[in-house]
């Protein structure tokens, strides 16, 4: 990472790098291509990511590398040296980068690079993964000197060398040991893990909450400007409802996503993730997943796509596929904005963490059930291995955390952001047209009637606003979008959804967050039958609309019943928790399983489960009296 200055991810856990990535760097006039490969334990690969590395080293995918730079962990000197010795059999020039020597030093077991170099006959340069120290030297060495092809060493010699160079520490009470005594303690371990995860969610939600309010304010202000500057018409509607709405919907999610990714990155960087996998391995295995599934599944809480890619660290193919197929059930960061808005609109703040946790837990429970079923039917047999190192606890490098957040933010803005914006614009188009003259004429008549009455200016303006709102709603009611929504709505009626929520769900398929701007367009308008609307209804007070959350609360159906209530909101969130709505994820599943069968299966089972879940929630809740009633 420091060599090229580009943003790779040196993380304290296996599976951080499952693909090759390349970068170019110019050192003293020479251009180097640096290839970062997934970590390797020996020349016999056990999982797909290791096969990638071996293939590249052997030159199976193109030219062989000119120099191998073996990054070794100083605290495991003897084991690492054995592997380095194995690597010499490839017959390529080598340099050794001695990493984590600072960690070894803290344990009283540091290694002298010069002495090591003398012993093994390979150039050794001390590096530190968390800082650029040593990297400059490494770069220069690669450019100036001609690294030689070293010869291998027999194992007894390696052990001897390691013993000589590395002070054998008595099992010291290091920080790592002491922390593990608590965090992995028999009775405390799992409760602490649950607390950590719960705390993370609560933090993300409460951290995100103020931002949602600010962005809504900013959006309101900007929309007000447009309203002042442009008269009523298609352009104003597009700017406010399509463009501003779309763009701000992208920004309102940013703080939450950044926070979630930062927290996961910090947790990864400390080394705690490995402990979590250690604690959960038995449970995961019971459900037909591997202990190694933990990292891919945990990553999927940020975004399922890197999680699915990370499944390459799983050696057993059936475990791997099971992991891939349930990864989308881990509520990804795209679902978070939907949860935040709906929880914020319909539930008290004190409940928010609990509901959020419940939604995430739902995904996990369903995933366990699906994996269990799969491993007993379509994916029967075989078991993967654990063989997992528990790294030393480290203070996570802020630089790495920042870079991970930046990468994720950038990807989100560009990939999800463009889809959300495009979807918002298309939804606007479908909701604005057609524009029959007949409806316009009807409301013009209302305006003429109003002009004839005697009112003071403030009252008159308020009535005019109401007429405008009603007119917009009447148009919306007969729009193309409304026709589509009403056609599909019967399928979702048992879940308590009205046609606008149905449209929102459909609009969420390209990108989950797109439901937010869609709601912004559809629900800011009431459900109004142009034919029945008359001047008399103007006496009812105008609701002060302050943001999407209050809009959702106040929205009404044709018959006057609320469009949404806490139960329907819950059913909707359950739908989102379980539904497969991300085309990119399905694409990743296709690539990783090399067939269309699994993405199709994933889409199918998740959509069915989502529908069943939403309907079940609404029907059961209705029986308990929380429904809309008739």
């Amino acid at each position: 990472m420091h060599l090229t200055g580009s943003l790779q991810r040196p993380v304290n856990f296996p599976g951080s790098s499952v693909e090759m990535s390349q970068g170019r760097v110019r050192i003293e006039g020479t251009e180097l291509t640096v290839v970062d490969l997934p970590g390797l334990g020996s020349l016999q690969p056990i999982s797909p990511d290791e096969k990638v590395t071996i293939a590249h080293l052997r030159g199976d995918d193109g030219a062989r590398p000119d120099v191998i730079c073996a990054v070794i962990d100083a605290s495991k000197l003897s084991v690492e040296l054995q592997f380095v010795s194995e690597l010499t059999s490839l017959g390529l020039p080598m340099i050794v980068a001695l990493n984590k020597n600072d960690v070894a030093r803290a344990e009283g077991r540091c290694v002298d690079p010069a002495a090591l170099e003398a012993e093994i006959g390979i150039r050794v340069i001390e590096t530190d993964g968390r800082s650029p120290r040593g990297t400059q030297l490494l770069g220069q060495c690669l450019v100036r000197d001609e690294p030689a092809c070293p010869k291998g060493l027999p194992r007894d010699l390696i052990e001897e060398i390691a013993d000589r160079l590395q002070a054998q520490s008595e099992p010291r009470r290091t920080l790592t040991t002491r922390l593990d005594d608590v965090l992995l303690q028999r009775w405390l371990g799992l409760p602490i893990l649950a607390l950590v995860i719960f705390g993370m969610f609560q933090l993300v939600y409460s951290g995100a909450d103020p931002f949602v309010g600010w962005v809504e304010m900013a959006q309101g202000w900007l929309s007000g400007l447009v309203e002042g500057g442009v008269g009523p018409g298609a352009l104003r509607s597009f700017l406010i409802g399509g463009l501003i709405n779309g763009v701000f919907s992208v920004f309102v999610f940013l703080p939450q996503i950044m926070l979630l990714i930062a927290l996961i990155a910090i947790l990864e960087g400390t080394g705690y993730m490995a402990r979590a996998a250690f604690l959960l391995d038995r449970t995961l295995s019971r459900f037909g997943l591997s202990g190694r599934s933990f990292v891919p599944l945990a990553s999927s809480f940020a975004c399922a796509i890197p999680g699915i890619l990370a499944s390459r660290i799983i050696d057993n193919e059936r475990d791997r596929i099971a992991t891939i197929v349930v990864a989308p059930l881990m509520s990804c960061s795209a679902r978070l904005p939907v949860y935040v808005v709906l929880i914020g609109a319909f539930f008290p703040l004190a409940w928010s963490g609990l509901i959020l946790f419940g939604l995430y837990a739902l995904g996990i429970v369903v995933a366990a059930a699906v994996a269990w079923c799969l491993r007993r039917t379509a994916l029967k047999g075989g078991q993967s291995t654990l063989l997992m190192e528990l790294p030393t606890y480290q203070r996570p490098s802020l630089r790495v955390v920042f870079s991970q957040v930046w990468i994720a933010t950038r990807e989100f803005l560009i990939l999800a952001g463009t889809i959300i914006l495009a979807t918002s614009v298309v939804i606007w188009l479908l909701s604005y047209y057609p524009r029959p003259e007949a409806i316009h004429a009807k409301f013009e008549e209302q305006r003429r009637s109003l002009a004839a009455t005697v009112l003071d200016p403030t009252q008159r303006n308020r009535q005019l606003d109401k007429i405008a709102a009603a007119e917009a709603a009447a148009f919306s009611e007969q729009s193309w979008l409304a026709h589509i929504g009403k056609a599909i709505q019967p399928a979702f009626a048992p879940a308590g959804f009205d046609w606008r929520t149905t449209i929102g769900v459909i609009a969420a398929f390209p990108a989950r967050e797109a439901i937010i701007p869609t709601y912004g367009i559809l629900y800011s308008l009431g459900d109004i039958d142009a034919g029945a609307y008359d001047l008399a209804s103007l006496d009812k007070p105008v609701e002060e609309v302050a943001g999407l959350r209050s809009v959702l609360r106040e929205a009404r159906r044709m018959d006057g019943r609320p469009a949404l209530n806490p139960l329907i909101a819950l059913a909707l969130m359950v739908f989102f928790a379980l539904c497969s709505q991300c085309v990119s994820t399905l694409g990743a599943i296709r690539r990783e399983t090399r067939s269309w069968r699994w993405p199709a299966f994933t889409f199918g089972y998740m959509t069915v489960l989502a529908w069943v879940g939403a309907v079940a929630v609404y029907q059961i809740g209705s029986l308990m009296g929380y429904g809309l009633g008739s």
Partner: protein, 80 residues
């Protein structure tokens, strides 16, 4: 010869010595490359809450193995 057992039978808190790794498949090769060489001292640190996996300490680092993996390592009392 000192009494021999498999690694999964050793109780937490004990330190024993590797005799050899059983088998000739990918798992045994991987165990070897992880540092389970004849004569290596291995400390059994702790078991996970449900009894599996187990944390070991060897060659300067910490490793988690399942019972099904540890059973491949034949161990005995330290010779030194």
């Amino acid at each position: 010869m000192a009494s021999q057992q498999t690694l999964d039978e050793v109780l937490p808190g004990c330190t024993i010595c590797v005799v050899r790794v059983e088998g000739d498949d990918a798992l045994s090769r991987r165990l070897t490359s992880l540092g389970f060489w004849p004569g290596t001292a291995v400390e059994v640190v702790r078991r996970a809450p449900f009894g599996d996996p187990t944390q070991f300490s060897l060659r300067g680092y910490r490793l988690a193995l399942r019972r099904s993996e540890a059973v491949r390592v034949i161990v005995g009392q330290a010779a030194r």
